[in-house]
């Protein structure tokens, strides 16, 4: 596109608008399928509007995923009945409170008429991930708080004096954690659906991959946080198992990240990701620090005869930082992709199914 914004005479039949673009796009581009938009724009003005969402929503997406996945891991560990993981069950139930307590204030602060936050619970709309999510958050909040309260009772009552009460508390926590974990699964993925079900080119390009990626990032962050919790209490055996889980989730995330990057490139919606700040947060933060580096650290720790506590801490912290960076960079890079006409016009040249 060239300034001044006068459109070159582009007459001719409409078919021109829906043809596939030249096979080879920008310099250095090897993919024969890449769609690059080189047609006219309206004075370079954006065609769709960017979302008004900012770091508050991105932080919520991170914390919500972390909490939801923590509840899932705690529940799985509780049913596994491994005594080495009893402490992890406890920590997971408390960690689930983070998203529950921090989520609503962050979301309400993100509204432009915050005093009307309760209208979020006025209806249920199955086509709106925002509506679905409001109810998931409500359900998760209720069950996670109840589970954590039962756990709190267990942690503060004397086993000798209150044996019956403690049996009831343990039983209630065991029952309540199931709906909490199910809602927790929703917490880790609905935010990806929320981004995908928009006309923002970067978010809409790969709905399935984005959700798989967010799910893996949530599981990785929660299991990393719990592994660090285990290390703090010197429960190395538990920590190592959680680190294996973290590594698996991070590897899943890495695969999904690679696959989605390829889709973004082919559809011509990846331009924002190449800007310096997103390179830093997306490629550097989410991908490198969030998945590749911790994977290397965990593998190094597993193959040596003297696993290093420090390496494990570095790995866990890197996974959590990367998980947050993924949400932040997707949020801002998505908004950026909507501020220019080219990504959207490239993506809407013809109808096709998205991966």
């Amino acid at each position: 596109m060239s300034y001044p914004g006068k459109v070159e005479a582009v007459s001719g039949p409409l078919e021109h608008s829906t043809r596939q673009r030249a096979p080879y796009g920008r310099t250095g581009d090897r993919s024969p399928f890449r769609q690059v938009y080189d047609g006219p724009t309206y004075y370079g003005r954006n065609t769709v509007k960017p979302s008004p969402f900012d770091w508050k929503i991105a932080l919520y997406i991170f914390l919500g995923g972390l909490s939801g996945a923590a509840e899932i891991i705690a529940t799985v560990a509780d049913f596994d009945g491994n005594p080495a993981l009893e402490d992890t069950v406890r920590q997971g139930r408390y960690l689930a409170l983070v998203g529950t307590l921090a989520g609503p204030p962050l979301l309400i602060a993100g509204l432009h008429t915050p005093s009307r936050w309760y209208n979020m619970l006025r209806i249920f709309r199955g086509t709106s991930p925002m509506s679905i999510g409001s109810w998931i958050l409500t359900a998760f909040g209720g069950f996670a708080v109840a589970t954590a309260a039962a756990q709190g009772g267990l942690d503060t009552t004397n086993p000798v004096r209150w044996p019956r009460l403690r049996r009831i508390l343990r039983g209630s926590a065991r029952v309540l954690q199931v709906p909490a974990a199910l809602a927790g699964a929703g917490m880790s993925v609905y935010t990806a659906g929320l981004m995908a079900a928009t006309s923002t080119p970067l978010w809409a390009a790969a709905p399935r991959l984005l959700a798989a990626r967010f799910a893996a990032a949530a599981m990785a962050a929660a299991s990393a946080a719990l592994s660090l919790g285990a290390r703090r209490h010197h429960r190395i055996a538990a920590a190592e198992r959680l680190e294996d889980l973290t590594a698996l989730a991070a590897a899943t995330e890495l695969v999904m990240a690679r696959a989605s990057n390829e889709v973004y490139r082919q559809r011509g919606v990846d331009t924002a990701l190449h800007e310096p700040q997103f390179r830093l947060f997306y490629s550097g933060g989410a991908e490198l620090i969030g998945t590749a580096v911790p994977l290397a650290l965990y593998v190094a720790n597993r193959v040596t005869r003297h696993p290093s506590n420090r390496l494990a801490w570095a790995g866990g912290l890197a996974v959590m930082a990367g998980s947050a960076a993924l949400r932040l960079s997707m949020m801002y890079a998505g908004n950026e992709s909507a501020r220019h006409p080219e990504p959207y016009l490239a993506a809407t040249q013809s109808e096709r199914t998205s991966p």
Binding site: A197, S199, A204
Partner: protein, 300 residues
């Protein structure tokens, strides 16, 4: 346009109140709840006078915005926004340098003008995204934001495939064209269509408009404008990706992108289910892996 027979009943120049079913006289269409209404915007008739923009601002009491020159032809409005619900786009197809046009084809010479507006989509992504129910479908099959319910979450803004709906920084609510919901209730033609001096903007029942539009395209083809086509009628560009038809549709003579319209927009909510299922499947697989990794013999 022919004058309606009822026009004889109102010879005076001043009125006590609105004429009952006034739209019948001004647009040839009586407004009946339960039917589908919309706009047919014929860009070959647009002279770029911006009467529609002005009438819209006046009737809807919308504040002025962008009080500056953009340098983009005669378009100093720029885009649709929370306070601009009609926007006249100006495109100069004159070329530069050696490509500068020396001949003018019929109709609008080398100047394209198009009055853009909310499309009142049949499957409206903004409405489908709205978590509060503030966005709803009216009895006239139009899409309207209820200002007393909207809490300014802003999710409709990225949902719209045409970049129409917008949040107001002033009151923190989403705003867009209501297709003059209040006027329709009172039997009046929407302000922009009534003000349009060339009938570039036509108001009426969608089906009638679609038929008239097809006729117009056929006419134009005959008169030597082979590029004329409809955007937003069933099966046409713009009515793609499960959006259904657009209640406010257009007659264009250039590629949609020239007017800042997407050639093949899609229905955003269709991505909800695939996304959620894929995410939940990933969580389930990782939870199953967790059960294997965390269970079993204590210690290692």
């Amino acid at each position: 346009m022919t004058v309606h027979a009822r026009a004889r009943d109102y010879p005076q120049s001043e009125f006590e109140g609105p004429i009952p079913n006034e739209s019948e006289l001004t647009a040839g269409s009586r407004i009946v709840p339960g039917r589908s209404y919309g706009f047919f915007t014929d860009t070959t008739r647009c002279i770029g006078c911006k009467a529609c923009e002005t009438a819209c601002k006046q009737w809807n009491a919308l504040p002025a915005d962008n009080m500056a020159l953009t340098g983009d032809s005669y378009d100093n409005t720029g885009a649709l926004s929370a306070s601009t619900w009609r926007h006249v786009a100006f495109i100069e197809k004159i070329g530069t340098g050696a490509d500068r046009a020396t001949e003018m084809p019929p109709y609008q010479s080398n100047w394209l003008m198009m009055s853009d507006v909310c499309k009142h989509c049949h499957n409206a992504p903004c409405l489908e995204a709205c978590p509060t129910g503030a966005l709803f479908r009216t009895e006239f099959d139009t899409v309207v934001v209820q200002q007393d319910i909207c809490n300014g979450c802003g999710y409709c803004v990225p949902a719209c495939p045409f970049g129409v709906v917008d949040l107001s920084e002033v009151d923190g609510k989403a705003h867009k064209c209501t297709l003059c919901y209040d006027r329709l209730k009172g039997g009046l033609e929407p302000a922009c269509a009534k003000a349009c001096p060339t009938d570039s903007i036509q108001f009426g029942e969608v089906e009638h408009l679609q038929r008239a539009a097809e006729q117009r395209v056929a006419d134009l083809h005959q008169r030597g404008v082979p590029n004329a086509y409809l955007y937003g009628t069933p099966g046409a560009p713009g009515a793609t990706g499960d959006l259904g038809h657009l209640n406010a549709f257009f007659l264009l003579t250039e590629r949609p992108e020239v007017y800042n319209l997407p050639p093949a927009p899609t229905r955003a909510s269709n991505r909800t289910l695939p996304s959620l299922i894929s995410g939940l499947a990933t969580v389930a697989s990782l939870a199953a892996a967790a059960a294997l990794l965390l269970g079993g013999r204590p210690g290692r």
